[in-house]
């Protein structure tokens, strides 16, 4: 049995589902892990979603329940060092000896002292737009990140905070009972040495306002599926009720449009994001379960039901719950200026008829794109990216999570579209591969 005499260290870049899983597996395999995350908390996109799948009683990728305990585990694991609010400034070296320069931006709030009492958020005089919370729309310059974030420690929006703009306000720090707020915190540059790197930078959402004819951001009642997820969260601004942004009334009809900006040469995103068919089905089902009288339509091109339990869930959604599936990519959406209803113009390709459909609300499933940070990381490392920004592997069949550089591996969406389950599996796999590589290298040395 090969013993790793000196503890090896691995850096995982990205603290979403994949990053967290990779970090935990590596830590349990005896490695020292640096988990670098650009946001103030780890958890990634998954904690932005609404928990609802188990209500549908068909096993399928659920969002948050399995991940939260893992986030807590990450924080408490002696082998994992989490660097949040952190940006990679440069990487040099090679497999076995990477030097990574991390810029850790200050949070201004001492995580050890903060007790999440919320007094600071109450006293803050600055209200800012909350893109996340499109129904209420406002939050304070100092605010808690998502309710599912751990630890629950507030963050300060420096652009809008009065203290940072004009030095004229310290209300939050005055009222903090544990003096956790320190405006004098500074940037820190941390040099990390690692034998291997795992990239887990995840995804970003295509902005559907680029598809002008769908009216996103112009028509109030056209929202994205992420907006819907947040709205249906029972902790959200409407207590879980789905309402139209224009008049706060519950919609009697909702149309989901899939593949917005994807599988399209027009936007150059000619790939399939892999997960939208199923999460649209899930959310369509949720709408029906919450309010069975709602008319629900889904516009699709191909039904991607390739995973375990997917076809069965889809059958339930279409047959038992009565969601109407229409094959066709809508040509355009118009808004009725009086009622703010939406009129969708489309060709039903299975009947070859051009039709119009009037609905109260439209939900767009946008393309899921690789993270823009991939370009910078590719430059630092000399990695190859494909034309969309995904990391390339030397052979997509036999080396699915290697990159074109030795010692650097990927997991999750940054390599190509995949769902939660596959991302987590890839993360465990990458951890296994890294351990194998490091062990072999050590043997080579000996």
């Amino acid at each position: 049995m090969i013993r790793l005499e000196k503890v090896s260290s691995v850096t995982v870049i990205g603290g979403g589902v994949a990053g967290i899983q990779a970090a935990l597996e590596l830590a349990n395999l005896g490695m020292l892990v640096y988990l670098v995350e650009e946001n103030p908390s780890i958890g990634g996109r998954i904690i932005e979603l609404n928990c609802s799948s188990c209500r549908l009683e068909v096993p399928m990728d659920c969002s948050i329940c399995p991940v939260i305990p893992k986030i807590v585990e990450c924080y408490h694991h002696p082998n994992i060092k989490i660097l949040t609010n952190a940006e990679i400034m440069g990487i040099s070296g090679s497999a076995g000896n990477f030097q990574i320069n991390v810029l850790k931006k200050p949070r201004f709030i001492n995580e050890d002292k903060c007790t999440a009492c919320g007094a600071c958020t109450e006293k803050c005089p600055v209200e800012i737009f909350d893109a996340f919370n499109m129904v209420k729309g406002r939050k304070k310059a100092i605010h808690f990140p998502l309710p599912q974030a751990f630890p629950q420690v507030p963050v300060i929006d420096r652009e809008n905070c009065l203290h940072f703009r004009s030095g004229t306000c310290e209300k939050c720090s005055e009222v903090c009972p544990t003096t956790a707020i320190n405006f004098n915190d500074e940037d820190m540059i941390i040099g990390v040495k690692s034998e291997a790197i795992i990239l887990a930078t995840g995804l970003s959402l295509f902005d559907p306002s680029g598809i002008r004819e769908y009216g996103y951001k112009r028509y109030k009642n056209v929202i994205t599926i992420l907006d819907l997820e947040q709205m249906t969260s029972i902790h959200g601004p409407t207590g879980g009720k789905i309402v139209r942004i224009s008049d706060k009334k519950e919609p009697k009809s909702i149309a989901f449009i899939q593949c917005v900006g994807s599988r399209s040469r027009r936007t150059n995103n000619n790939f399939c994001s892999g997960v939208c068919c199923m999460y649209t089905a899930k959310d369509a089902a949720l709408v029906k379960i919450l309010k069975p009288e709602t008319e629900v339509y889904v516009f699709y091109i191909d039904l991607r039901v390739f995973g375990k339990g997917y076809q069965e869930l889809f059958n339930k959604v279409r047959n038992s719950l009565g969601v109407k599936y229409i094959r066709g990519r809508p040509g355009g959406i118009w808004e009725d200026p009086k009622t703010r209803d939406l009129i969708i113009s489309f060709e039903n390709t299975l009947t070859q008829r051009v039709e119009k459909l009037r609905v109260d609300m439209v939900v767009l499933s946008p393309a899921l794109l690789p993270h823009p940070n991939n370009r910078k990381l590719a430059e630092f490392l000399g990695l190859e990216l494909d034309e969309h920004g995904f990391f390339k592997s030397p052979n997509p069949v036999s080396q699915p999570f290697d990159t074109t550089i030795k010692g650097v591996f990927t997991c999750g969406y940054c390599r190509g579209p995949r769902g939660i389950s596959e991302s987590a599996t890839q993360a465990s796999a990458a951890a296994g591969r890294v351990t194998e590589t490091i062990t072999l290298a050590k043997m080579g040395r000996n």
């Binding site: 188990c54 068909v58 096993p59 329940c65 939260i68 309710p147 029972i234 902790h235 879980g240």
Partner: protein, 142 residues
């Protein structure tokens, strides 16, 4: 005291057996998101809804509980593959027993609540308090 006054003053006592992996966390979630619910419920943590022995429920009623909730993972999601289903079977049996001895079976409730459904937990407690207030105290205490 008039009957109406007594009903108003009556605050039912509810015992909730919650599963460590799901409903216990949902109660936490309700608190985190400040979704208030009546303080009439006391929570006992078990590892699985399947741990809840019918004896516990009976003892709860005998000790003064007006209502009992057993909350576990959604079907198919039991970490121990089916403890929640066992709990469901036992609750059915208990309700039959309760009917026989003249205790309203609505005083026992089994719910599937996942870890993130804080609002649901609060809702269940709220509903039960309302129902129990109408039913009145159980008064089975020895």
């Amino acid at each position: 005291m008039e009957e109406g006054e007594e009903t108003r003053k009556f605050e039912p006592k509810i015992l909730a057996f919650t599963c460590n992996w799901s409903s216990y966390s949902s109660a936490d979630q309700a608190g985190i998101s400040r979704t208030f619910y009546p303080p009439n419920v006391q929570i006992i943590r078990v590892m699985c809804a399947g741990r809840v022995d019918p004896l516990f429920v009976v003892k709860a009623f005998l000790n003064g509980a007006d209502g009992v909730i057993i909350a576990g993972c959604h079907p198919n999601y039991c970490r121990y593959s089916g403890g929640n289903r066992q709990a469901e079977i036992r609750v059915k049996f208990l309700k039959m027993l309760m009917e026989e001895i003249g205790v309203d079976p609505a005083r026992l409730r089994i719910e599937w609540i996942s870890a993130m459904e804080g609002g649901r937990f609060a809702q269940v407690v709220q509903e039960m308090v309302g129902e129990l207030k109408k039913m009145g105290p159980l008064l089975l205490r020895k």
